[in-house]
Structure formats: C-alpha cells, structure tokens
C-alpha cells in the first residue's frame, strides 16, 4: 500500500518538474528541473523493481548527460540575457492541443494492455530471473546472450558519436 502512495507522489513530482522543464525560459532552470524529473523517474524504477536501471538512470542520465547539457549551456554563456524563445500563441495552442490529443490516444491505446498482459499470467517472470542471476545478472545475461549484436552496434554508435562530436565542435583551426 505504501509503494502506491510513494509511486503517486513521485509521479506527481515527475509531471510537475517535466512541466517546469518545458515552461522555464532560463535554460539552466529547465535543465535543473529535468534533473528533478530524472530523480523522480529513478525512484519509480526502483518502486517497479528495476533497481539496476534506477541506479543507471541517475548515474548516466542525471549524472552524465545533464552535466554535459549544463556544461554546454555554461560554455555558450546562455544562462543570462536570454530572450523568450517561445513561439507565437498560435503555436502554443496547437502544441498543447496536439499534446492533449496525443495523450488521449496513448491513454486509449495503452489502457487496454493490462487486462491483456495479466491474462498471459507473466506477472513474476522478472522475479524468477532476478532470483536466479541477481539484479544485475538478470539484465546482464540476456544482454550478452540474446542481444549481443545490438550491444556491439551500440558500442560502435557511441564511438561514432564521440568522434562526430569532436569533429563538429572543434574550432576549424
């Protein structure tokens, strides 16, 4: 019963901070609100039983990517004398409208799945694997067995990204 209360609490935090990320004019403020969202999500992950992902979320997302963002913001000195970069009210209305419609559709689509999945009776599949290999092993084993190709590709992708970033951002001397 406690976990549900915590879940709704963190969900609320996540939604508010997401809204603040989008609406703050100051990039630094919105960056920090985004970090807040990540923390809330990490908490929800742990509540859902994915402890390793919760940790990774904080480590990689909040820790690495957001730091990179803040670093770039500071590098480009965007923190101050920024003018409002919101588009016209027409666009605002359209954006909000399309977001709500999208939300409604997603809810409609997603809504029906629980009854479907419960029917398949796979509730405690994850628990069995975790019990066998431990929290990290449960993710590690399939990653290195079934998903070994995507893993390598992702590795390559990251290499390309790094080289790309260096080439792009380097001052043409």
């Amino acid at each position: 019963m406690l976990s549900q209360i915590l879940f709704y609490f963190f969900a609320g935090v996540a939604i508010v901070s997401a809204l603040m990320t989008v609406t703050r004019r100051n990039p630094v403020a919105s960056a920090l609100w985004l970090v807040g969202t990540f923390f809330a999500l990490a908490a929800i992950y742990t509540l859902l039983g994915a402890f390793f992902i919760g940790i990774i979320q904080i480590l990689v997302y909040a820790g690495a990517i957001m730091v990179l963002f803040l670093f770039v913001i500071m590098l480009l000195n965007l923190g101050n004398d920024f003018e409002p970069d919101f588009r016209g009210t027409v666009w605002k209305v359209m954006a909000a409208g399309s977001a709500l419609v999208l939300l409604a559709l997603l809810v409609r689509v997603v809504g029906g799945t629980e009854s479907l999945l419960v029917a398949t009776g796979g509730v405690d599949l994850v628990a069995a694997q975790v019990a066998e290999y431990g929290v990290v092993g449960a993710i590690g084993v399939p990653m290195f067995l079934d998903y070994v190709v995507p893993l390598q590709v992702t590795g390559l992708l990251l290499l390309v990204a790094v080289v790309g970033a260096v080439v792009l951002a380097k001052r043409d001397v």
Partner: protein
C-alpha cells in the same frame, strides 16, 4: 504490485509534455532536453511492462540510454558549431535546409 496502468499513463503524460515542448520552444538546448524527456517516457513504459513481458524490456532501456547519450553528444556539438557561427542557439538560424 504497482498498478501497471498508472505507470503507463505517467509515461504518456511525460511523452505528451515532451512533444509540446519540442513544438513550442525555439532554444535548441531546451529542444534537446524535451527530446530527452520523451526518451525517458519511453524508458518508463519499457520498465513498467518488463515484469509482464520479460526482462528484455529492461535490456532495451540500456540501449535507449546509450542512444540518448550519443544523440545528446552529437547534438550539442552541432549546437556549438552553429553557435560559433550565428552567436545564438535559436533554431531559426538553422533554417537553410529547405526548399
């Protein structure tokens, strides 16, 4: 266990907020943040469904994170390159690629 629908609804909401942000904001950096937000919404959905559909969900999350990281890195590099040239990160300066 936690109500599955709630988690999925949450991810839908976050995703919707992310799209709204992408459409509305002109600042490239914030644009990237909104995209990160949308990716996270997707991750949440994966994690929420993994107890029912198997651990694969959580494995995919890792790949998503990796992609997100790569995308952020390259994106920001582009923004720096453009910034050097146009002194601002407003995406209207990026509008040469059109008919």
């Amino acid at each position: 266990m936690l109500p599955l629908n709630a988690a999925l609804f949450l991810s839908a909401i976050l995703f919707a907020i992310g799209t709204a942000g992408v459409v509305v904001r002109r600042n490239a950096i914030i644009l990237f943040m909104c995209i990160e937000l949308m990716l996270n919404a997707a991750n949440l959905a994966f994690v929420a469904l993994s107890p029912y559909a198997g651990i694969d969900g959580q494995v995919i999350v890792f790949f998503v994170i990796a992609v997100a990281a790569a995308e952020a890195a390259v994106g920001l590099a582009i923004i720096i390159a453009v910034f050097r040239h146009a002194e601002s990160v407003d995406i209207r300066n990026f509008s040469l690629l059109r008919w």
